[in-house]
Amino acid sequence: MNNPQQLRYSKEHEWLSAAGEDGVSTVGITEFAANSLGDVVFVQLPEVGTTVAAGETCGELESTKSVSDLYAPVTGEVTEINEDVVNDPALVNSAPFEGGWLFKVRVTDEPDQLLSADEYTAFTEN
């Protein structure tokens, strides 16, 4: 599985982009997670303006067989959610690292234990 080098990863299988000049990062779930879930049919995302806390649930993803919690990889304020993925949850499966991103967050705090691409790849292979 090809985990993009420029992203960082949580052990709950979320990815986080490097923050732009405005301090905003993009969050999604990894291809590994999307494949494990199967076809995603419904996503519930945090509301814009709310604060999410690193390691805590902030939404859910439903697939054919199961429902999974979505965890925030960092703490911060949600600035935008991906309406495309709300309308077409299959984007999570077809383009987890691109069009299937979930929300944007202005990061105020982040845990130390986020993984690099190589570390995350090793984590999923164990």
Binding site: G38, D39, F42, K65, V67
Partner: protein, 373 residues
């Protein structure tokens, strides 16, 4: 001391791995859950054809002059009246009327029947059949190792199979089976399935399974046949309103509770296990029906799961979901649920499912959700 049990692998295990299947532990078997997108697999079966490995199913053979009588005594159906070459959906119940398993029984000869049980119940069914056949001139044989089971399901399945066999498929009716040869492999060819589509189930020797699978894959490719896993098998049967043991059918329900009282044949000769309790259950179902099995269709997009509560307009619990999934055909979440009879009429207003604390509106509908044209 810990006891670690390794899941059993079917004769097609290497094929599934080569196809990159996502595998899952199902009733002690390592089975393909899906090969790619389960929704695409589902759609293939509805519109073209799908290929399934169902080798986890449990086969039991009864032979002898009283094989039919043994089944009449052991099961709720009238199997001795079944014509050779035909199949019947039936159930095996405990003395208290509780369902031990639902079964398909094929009559292969005057004195030979093939019973197909769910993988999770195969041992229970085998033990019960041996016990219940005692004293009769009938032999019960564990044939779980003797068969691999491959299903071809979908509107294109007859045309695909026709290219690989000389058997008279046109003459083979729904719920019938005949011995034949498919792609050079000896097979029991049965026109049965669990998808709501036309289709076939092929019982073959495990040593022939891979050859048959590959032949079907090649013959079906131009028609759009794809390998299909258990995930889409579940959404296909759910749309078709077919019950699944462990969900709609349990040890604690009778066939009448499940709305399937028609499988119980009280007028057959002799006694059968569960008769007395089932007669009471039949009366109860007529006079004071307990919960009724209904279909639910979502207004929203959140998916009900087994065990979720069904609630009425006043917020009181009126039932419980037994199976739920996003329906690829309807494009909405659907569920089967046991609901109090007073709220079970199609169109009943104000029915919701409690989805992790939120009451999501659902419409009560008659089963099935989907019927092939």
């Amino acid at each position: 001391m810990s006891h670690v049990s390794t899941p059993r692998r079917t004769a097609l295990d290497a094929v599934h791995r080569a196809l990159g299947a996502t595998m899952t532990d199902f009733a002690g078997w390592d089975m393909p859950l899906r090969y790619g997108s389960e929704r695409d697999e589902h759609t293939a079966v509805r519109t073209r054809a799908g290929l399934f490995d169902l080798s986890h199913m449990g086969e039991i053979t009864l032979t002898g002059p009283q094989a039919g009588a043994a089944l009449d005594r052991a099961l709720v159906g009238h199997l001795s009246a079944l014509a050779v070459g035909r199949a019947r959906y039936t159930m095996i119940c405990d003395a208290d009327g509780g369902i031990l398993d639902d079964l398909i029984v094929y009559r292969l000869g005057e004195q030979e029947f093939l019973v197909v049980a769910n993988a999770s119940n195969a041992q229970v069914v085998l033990d019960a059949l041996i016990e219940r056949a005692e004293g009769l001139d009938a032999a019960v044989r564990d044939d779980r190792e003797a068969y691999a089971l491959i299903a071809v399901q979908g509107p294109a399945s007859a045309a695909i199979l026709a290219g690989l066999t000389d058997a008279d498929l046109d003459g083979l009716k729904y719920y019938a089976g005949l011995p034949g040869t498919v792609a050079g492999v000896p097979a029991l060819i049965a026109r049965t399935g669990y998808t709501g589509e036309d289709g076939f189930e092929l019982f073959v020797s495990p040593g022939d399974a891979e050859r048959l699978w590959q032949a079907l894959t090649e013959a079906g490719a131009p028609a759009g046949l794809v390998p299909c896993g258990l995930s889409c098998r579940d959404t296909l049967r759910l749309e078709a309103g077919m019950p699944l043991y462990g969900h709609e059918l349990t040890r604690g329900t009778t066939p009448f509770d499940a709305g399937l009282g028609r499988v119980v044949k009280f007028d057959k000769p002799g006694d059968f296990v569960g008769r007395q309790a089932l007669e009471a259950a039949a009366r109860r179902a007529e006079t004071a029906p307990p919960r009724v099995l209904v279909g639910l269709v979502a207004a929203g997009r959140r998916v009900p799961r087994a065990g979720y509560a069904v609630v009425g307009a006043d917020g009181a619990v009126i039932g419980e979901v037994t199976s739920g999934a996003p329906s690829p055909t309807l494009g909405k979440p659907i569920a089967i649920a046991y609901v109090d009879a007073a709220h079970a009429a199609p169109g009943t207003a104000g029915v919701s499912v409690d989805i992790r604390g939120t009451h999501e509106p659902y419409e009560v509908v008659a089963l099935p959700f989907y019927k092939r044209r």
